[in-house]
Amino acid sequence: MGKPEMKGTVTSLSSVFPPEEVQKAAKMVEGKLSEKQSEMNQLKEFIADNTSLINLVQKLPDELHHDIMVPFGKAAFFPGRLIHTNEFLVLLGENYYADRTAKQTVEILKRRGKSLMSKVDALKAEMQDLKAEASFFDSTASEVADDLVEIREYEEDNSPERVSQSGPVELESPSVAEADNKVSASEDDEYARLMLRLEELEKEELAAEDDGENDEDEDEDANANATETETDGDEDEDELTEAAFHGKKDEGYSSLDHNQRYLESQPRKQLQQSKGKDPMNEEMSTKYNHQDLTNQLACTGLTAEPVTKGNYGGEIPHGRIVHQDTKMLNPPVNASVPSGKKPVQTPKSEFDSSKAFTGSIIEHTENLEKKLPEQKTTSSQASDSKPSKPMSRFKMQRK
């Protein structure tokens, strides 16, 4: 790592993220969490009722008749008996009923129980996301209270940018707070930015073909990135947890090891994007410059990518941030927090951006300078994590 001119910035966290906003965001998340908790309780009640009903239905056919008190309205009973104890009338919905035997009724009830369980699982996943978000907010709040300061350094050359932070968590937290605040606003911008990026990527791909590196990957990535941009929110998290980001599809973007450092720089890029489309192009190019094609491919959207993805990942993930509890903060923050870090990134070549977006996970160890091992793990994780994250699909649908 040569030492070209170093630029640096020092920002106090509290100036970037007002403590009140952070607290508000934390409270919002808590409120949502309690809502989900009550929904969860209700679903559990339903499941318990269902199981007890299954037991009852199984026991009733044991006798020909059962003497019971037959309700007559809500306040009166008639003494009577249950007859035809093997015939059940089951409501299928929409005023459609079905006459079934006990066994068939039990099967119906079991299927109902399964769908309830799957709802409970989905709700649990949501609650976990919310909890992660809440913890991020809390950490942000504590950091802000402690007057932590963000220190960023930039190198003015074509080697990948390295950003050092005094508090790695800081990047994320601001984005989280801001993300929450600005999710709605950034989502609209994200689409526009995505389109711009796609165009840029295409251009870069053409240029990249000359390099003879990973041309194939780029195409795939570009396509993948387009669809996965939504998951970009994960990018920021990559730094902190490469694994976490893998799941998120940011992979396509520039998973360069160097990029991991980028996460911090990305926020700037994202900010730039929020400013306008032009900055995005710059950012994209700058980000990619840092990343060699191979690196990008290797990193495939794992944590390192946040740089490229940050551009639009930041925007898209805004909506996702809620779900992705971890470090998504960076992208949103970047968008919302105007930082004048653009100039640093313009010198980067544009190719890399196209490669960064490769959706496929391709590990090229040629140019990986630092984080090869990390990227590999992340890439493998990325492929695995996709199926395990149903939420991302929701987010995509929402977007």
Binding site: D49, N50, S52, L53, L56, V57, L60, I68, M69, V70, P71, F72, G73, K74, A75, A76, F77, F78, P79, G80, R81, L82, I83, H84, T85, E87, F88, L89, V90, L91, Y97, T105, L109, R112
Partner: protein
Amino acid sequence: MDSLRQEKIHKFEEFVDRRLKPDLVRAIAERDKVFDQQKIFSDLRKNIENLEKNSVTNLRTLVNLGSEVYMQAEVPDTQRIFVDVGLGFHVEFTWSEALKFISLREEKLERQIEEYTRLIASIKAQIKLVCEGIRELLQIPEEKTVEGRVF
């Protein structure tokens, strides 16, 4: 002077919002519950009168076992009916006794409803009073400063 007035106004508003309005909401909710009870008993009465009119002795019904799963039930003798008289007790009645009981019950419920209605009306009147007081406090200074107003 103005700051004092502002304080008073603020206090009045708080009083209205924190005490009177929730009280109103609660009273209305209680009255709705009594309405529901009344409806239940009047439905029951109509049903019993129907049974009597058609001299129904046997009855076939569908009993809800829970989660909308029904089973056939037969009532061989409809002469005896058990009615809920409160506190978890059900009393065995014949039709005519049941009807008498239900009419007594309905009277009691109506009296309860009337009480709740009076309570709700008084709360609403209090709210209006406080609002008027606030308006006076606001208008009087205005009237002094704006000489155009003459009542």
